[in-house]
């Protein structure tokens, strides 16, 4: 046999081997596709509620007889289809001032997200924002205002109280 003929024969042999390997691979692999066992995937989306925003700092300062305002901004996000409620609860019936001085909570007004003003009554929680469906995907943004009507006879000094915001799912 001439060297050229020998080369041709070798190439043919290699092609045959390669085809055999490929067929073998396909034969081995195909039963997996043919009898394909269905894979059951269960995905669970947790029901969550969140409040987010810049940390709230209220600087309510003013002269006696004037009204001082401060805003609180926050975003509520929930995937609960029944929605949520945001309530604000005062820690006491009044703001505690210097000595025995105090300002009753009834002097503290609240304007929820551009709505009508309501005033606190003792330490009763007020519902400030209410929604009966899930929030928008990126959350529902709110900007609420505190309005303190400083009594004309209020003694000078710092008056303290804590107001707690809570978003609760319906």
């Amino acid at each position: 046999m001439t060297p050229a003929g020998k080369g041709k024969k070798m190439r043919f042999g290699r092609t045959l081997i390669a085809s055999g390997v490929l067929l073998g691979t396909l034969a081995a692999a195909s039963p997996a596709f043919a009898s394909g066992t269905p894979v059951a995937i269960t995905a669970t989306v947790n029901q969550t509620i969140s409040m987010t925003g810049p940390p709230a700092t209220l600087n309510l300062a003013g002269d006696p007889g004037t009204t001082s305002s401060g805003n609180v901004a926050y975003t509520v996000t929930t995937n609960d289809p029944n929605g949520y409620n945001v309530a604000v609860t005062p820690s006491a019936p009044y703001l505690t001032g210097p000595g025995t001085n105090s300002i009753p909570n009834s002097a503290m007004g609240y304007v929820p997200n551009g709505g009508a003003q309501v005033n606190f009554n003792n330490s009763t929680a007020i519902s400030v924002n209410n929604k009966l469906t899930a929030s928008a995907g990126a959350g529902d943004p709110y900007t609420d205002s505190f309005k303190l009507a400083i009594p004309g006879n209020a003694a000078a000094g710092a008056y303290t109280e804590t107001f707690s915001y809570l978003a609760v799912a319906h």
């Binding site: 509620i49 700092t57 929680a125 400030v128 303190l148 707690s164 809570l166 978003a167 609760v168």
Partner: protein, 194 residues
Amino acid sequence: MSVSTAIAGIALLSSIAHGGTYDVTAGPAKTGANPGQTVIQKVSNHGTLPEDVRVSIDEIGHVNGACGFTHAAPLATPSANLIHLNPGTEYTLGVKVAPSGPAGYHAVTVAYTVGGTGAVKVTQGVATVIGVTYPGSPSGSQSRPCVAIAQTPKPSGINPAVPGGIAATVLAAGSALAFRARRRRRSRRAAQSA
């Protein structure tokens, strides 16, 4: 480093120093439990500031004729009362529901709050609800359980809750006047032709 890059870097550092957001995310937002059961809850911080989350138990019930936080004796105990969360971290805790309590349904709330600063301090956060029913016949207001905080009534005056009603009244009055005017014109025309 170019001048503009340096300025951009300073601006970014400045925004990080002065900005930042807190975040309190908790779940499951609402769930049920049996007396004595421990409910697993997860609280996480998706904000950009580290925070100390205070965990407190309350209940939604009747307060002055409406549904609100009762501040009654807590019917559950959390496994942690204060949790430090760095941004992007979460914490799993157990809330053990009291094995016994007043008969009837109770909406026990687990509040997760972060504190603000200033004289008038604002704490903010979320509350999850665990519904639990204790055996026995509920008495008084407990026979009509609260499931959510009641909407605070709007101040007196125009009630924005019923703009549709006001619009309907105006529309009805307008239609009645228009109908009366048409009838008058018709009878005038009839009198002229006669």
